[in-house]
């Protein structure tokens, strides 16, 4: 009992736990219990709770809500339920054949165990991996950084090799692989809250400190418009240990061509900013042109031209440039 008893003592108040039976019930439980959090796969949330970085008042389990795990395709496009696991997305024939960017991104999330547990909505809403933010107070040292309401970003003058090169008030990066892929395909997030439903383009979902969800809102689905048959999709992720690591940098590219000329392009970087970073200048450079190696190189340089690396992460610039170039040439 030692460990379990210790965990209980560490919690100032007793943790409430609800099994929601419907989206409406989940939302109303969130509204009625300030400080409550949704739990789905639990991969990120349970880890943060154990290290006492996050101490929710209650957990609202949505795994007990029927019908939230699905992958469907119709004339409008692809619809994925929030509780669909990363493994289900990576394995889906529909996703692999018609939305390869999403399947490619899903297949390089974490390792098999994480893909079996982690869900679509959890992947999109996971917390940053900044080691100052995640430092457990149990260790005796913690950092009251801007993301926690403090005044400093400890990464700026500290260990920042994995941090943003397109930073904001917080220099942590969005660790999601699915986010850049889904932004590149112009996905829309559906949410439900006490005031009803909302549709938010994923591109506008992220904020420098997190996302636009209210504490009593939840994701109820993702919709991806059907891509043109002339769209080529590519997801590339650079990480140190291929088995499990988060991206040092990643790129999701969706490029539509007609008669050899680019008519539409979406190039989105992951691991470099607090949210997915859309490289608009690179998109503009290739649109209306025939793709070539030298054009891809010009676009790659343009994609990173606005980067302002911190003291220890300038290496992310050439890595991201190389990824953009490869995504556009191979």
């Amino acid at each position: 009992m030692a460990r379990a008893a210790e965990a209980t003592k560490g919690t100032a108040r007793r943790l409430g736990h609800f099994d929601a039976r419907s989206v409406e019930e989940a939302v109303s439980l969130l509204s009625q219990n300030p400080g409550a959090r949704i739990i789905a796969g639990g991969v990120d949330l349970v880890a943060l709770m154990k290290s006492q970085v996050i101490s929710p008042a209650a957990l609202v389990n949505i795994k007990t809500v029927p019908g939230l795990a699905y992958i469907r395709e119709d004339a409008q496009g692809l619809k994925i339920g929030p509780l669909t696991t990363i493994a289900q997305i990576a394995r889906s024939e529909t996703v692999r054949e018609r939305y390869p960017l999403v399947a490619q991104a899903a297949s390089v999330v974490g390792a098999a165990q994480v893909r079996n547990m982690g869900t679509l909505a959890g992947n999109l809403c996971q917390q940053v991996r900044c080691w100052y933010y995640r430092r457990s107070p149990v260790t005796g040292t913690s950092f009251f950084c801007r993301r926690k309401g403090g005044e400093r970003c400890y990464a700026v003058a500290g260990e920042n090799e994995h941090h943003a090169i397109f930073g904001d008030v917080c220099d942590a990066v969005c660790p999601s692989d699915l986010a850049p892929a889904l932004v590149a395909l112009q996905a829309v997030v559906r949410t439900a809250g006490p005031d009803g439903e909302r549709e938010v383009p994923l591109e506008h979902f992220y904020t420098p400190m997190g996302n636009v969800l209210q504490p009593d809102e939840m994701i109820t689905g993702i919709e991806v418009p059907a891509p043109s048959s002339n769209t080529r999709e590519r997801f590339l992720k650079f990480r140190l240990r291929k088995a499990i690591d988060f991206a040092i940098a990643s790129v999701a590219a969706a490029v539509t061509t007609e008669s050899g000329v680019v008519t539409d392009a979406r190039i989105v970087l992951g691991g470099v900013a607090p949210g997915p970073y859309r490289a608009v200048s690179a998109e503009e450079i290739i649109t209306g042109q025939a793709l070539s190696g030298s054009l891809a190189e010009t676009a790659a340089r343009a994609a990173l031209s606005g980067a302002s690396p911190l003291s220890k992460n300038a290496h992310k610039v050439p890595i991201a440039e190389a990824l953009v170039k490869r995504a556009l040439t191979r």
Binding site: M1, A2, R3, A4, A7, T8, T11, R14, L15, G16, H17, F18, I39, G42, V43, V46, A47, M49, K50, S51, L59, N61, K63, A87, G110, A111, A112, Q113, V114, N116, M117, K242, A243, I244
Partner: protein, 166 residues
């Protein structure tokens, strides 16, 4: 509203256990501290090492990031349930690990065996690449990967009926 210790029924290795858990207790803690099933190991407790892997409904998951209270109605398999429950005869994967020194310190081994079992249950003829990919989330600090992969290859052969022993 559920608050404090609550009664749950957990199905582990085919047996139903009735016990009370606090909502924040992880499955790993509960298996080890409440059910005495200490074959499930805990190392990083942050989802990076894979040592706490158990099978839930046949899929490898991290028991140290799974809440026990949310496992009701699921089929949980730990390393204690891998050998034949009647005869105690080792599973071919376990047998291969014993005969071919698949373990050194042994801390990653229960999770390696379970993760390999999930792979072989789905694919009886995996390539070396399939095996490495499937075991990518299981870290062996002794660095015994080469032999671990061999053990899985050999046990796959045994399970296909090629050989009785590794």
């Amino acid at each position: 509203m559920i608050d404090g210790a609550i009664p749950v029924t957990l199905r582990v290795n085919g047996d139903d256990y009735q016990l009370e858990v606090e909502p924040q207790w992880t499955l790993a803690d509960t298996l080890r501290e409440r059910l005495g099933l200490t074959g499930t190991k805990m190392m990083c407790e942050q989802g990076e090492c894979g040592a706490c892997t158990v099978l839930i409904n046949g899929l490898p998951v991290l028991s140290c990031l799974t809440l026990a209270i949310e496992c009701q109605g699921m089929d949980i398999m730990t390393i204690e349930g891998v050998a034949d429950p009647q005869t105690g005869e080792l599973h071919p994967i376990q047998q291969a690990f014993v005969e071919r020194s698949g373990m050194q310190c042994g801390v990653c081994t229960p999770a390696m065996v379970l993760t390999a079992k999930a792979l072989l249950d789905e694919n009886d003829s995996p390539t070396e690449g399939d095996i490495r990919q499937a075991l990518a989330g299981n870290i062996c600090r002794c660095g015994n990967y080469k032999r671990i992969v061999e053990c899985v290859q050999v046990s796959a052969e045994m399970m296909r009926g090629g050989k009785a022993h590794a």
